[in-house]
Amino acid sequence: MRSLYRTLTRDDLRDALALAAALGVVGASFGALAAAAGFPVGLTLAMSLLVFAGGSQFLMVAIVAGGGGAAAAVAAGLLLNARHLPFGLAMGDAVADRWPARLLGTHVMIDESVAFSRARGSGPRARASYWLCGALFFVLWNVGTVLGVLAGSAVPDPAAFGVDAAFPAGLLALLLPTLRHPDARRVGLGAAVSSLVVSPFLPAGLPVLIGLAGLLLLPASRGISEGESR
C-alpha cells in the first residue's frame, strides 16, 4: 500500500481532494434531505455506507418521500446504477490483482473514481489513483452524510455553491486527454447527442446507457482490420 502512494504526485492528491470536498458537500445535502423526508438516521447512514452511489440514493429518497413504492425506488436506483457494469468491465484488473482487494475496491467504484483513474492511464498510477479516490470519496461522502443528518435544515442548498456544475466540469476535464483521440471524440459526440435526445422521454439512468450508441460511430473498417489481425 505504501508503494501505491509513492506512485502518486502531489497534484493527484490535490485534485482528488478537490473532488472529495465537493462530494462531501453533496453528501451533507443528501443527509439533510433524507432527514427532512423522515428517513430514520440509521437507514440514511446505511444507504451512504452500503449503496455508495449518490444519484440512486437521492432518487430513492425522492421516490419514497413522494409516496412511491419501495419496489419502484429499488428498480429506479438499479437502473441508474446499471452503468457500473460496463465501468467494471473497463476497469477490470486495474482495481487490484487479488480477489480480497478487488472485492473491496469494487465497492468504491463510482463515476468520479473511474474517470480519475482512467485519466491516468492503466499502469500503477491509475491503480493508485483509483484507490486514493475510492478511499477519499467514500470517507467524505459518509462524513458528509453524517453531518447533513445532524445539521438537518441548517444545511444550505448545495445549488447555491454551484456544486452541481463542479461534477460535470470535473468529469469533462478528466475526459479531455482521452477525447484528443479522433475515435474517442467521435464516440463521445455520438454519446452526448444520443443521451440528450432521449433524456426527455426516458427515466433517469437510461439516457446515459443510450449514450453507448456513440460506439456506432466508430469507423467499421478499423474494427474489422483489428479483428483480422489477431
Binding site: V51, V74, R83, D111, A165, P168, L172, T178, G211, L218
Partner: protein, 102 residues
C-alpha cells in the same frame, strides 16, 4: 420495508459493479472487443457529463449550470489546473444563481 429496499439496492448495486470486474477477469477478451469496452466507458462518461450539465429530470436545467460547466471546460482545455477548473465551474454557476439566473 424500507430497510429491505435499501439493502436490495445496496446488494444490487454491488453486484452490478462486481459483474463487470468478474467478467473482465474470467473471459479472454479479443483486442477488438477490448477497444469497444474501453470506448464504451468513455461514451458513458461523456453521456453522463452531457446529461448532468444540461438536464434535470429530463428537462433543461436552466442557464447557470451549463454556463459554469462551459467555463470549466474552457479552462480545462486551456490546461488550467484541475482544482481551478472545478472551482471556476462552481463559482460561475453560484455567481449566476446569486444574480437570479436559474
Amino acid at each position: 420495508m424500507t430497510w429491505a429496499a435499501v439493502l436490495t439496492l445496496a446488494a444490487g448495486t454491488y453486484l452490478l459493479r462486481l459483474a463487470g470486474v468478474v467478467l473482465r477477469n474470467r473471459v479472454e477478451v479479443p483486442e477488438r472487443v477490448e477497444r469497444y469496452v474501453d470506448l464504451g466507458a468513455t461514451a458513458l462518461l461523456v453521456a453522463l457529463v452531457a446529461t448532468a450539465a444540461l438536464t434535470e429530470a429530463g428537462d433543461f436545467v436552466g442557464w447557470a449550470r451549463p454556463a459554469g460547466v462551459a467555463v470549466g471546460a474552457l479552462a480545462a482545455w486551456r490546461k488550467v489546473p484541475f482544482v481551478i477548473v472545478v472551482v471556476l465551474a462552481a463559482g460561475t454557476t453560484a455567481g449566476m444563481r446569486a444574480l437570479g439566473v436559474p
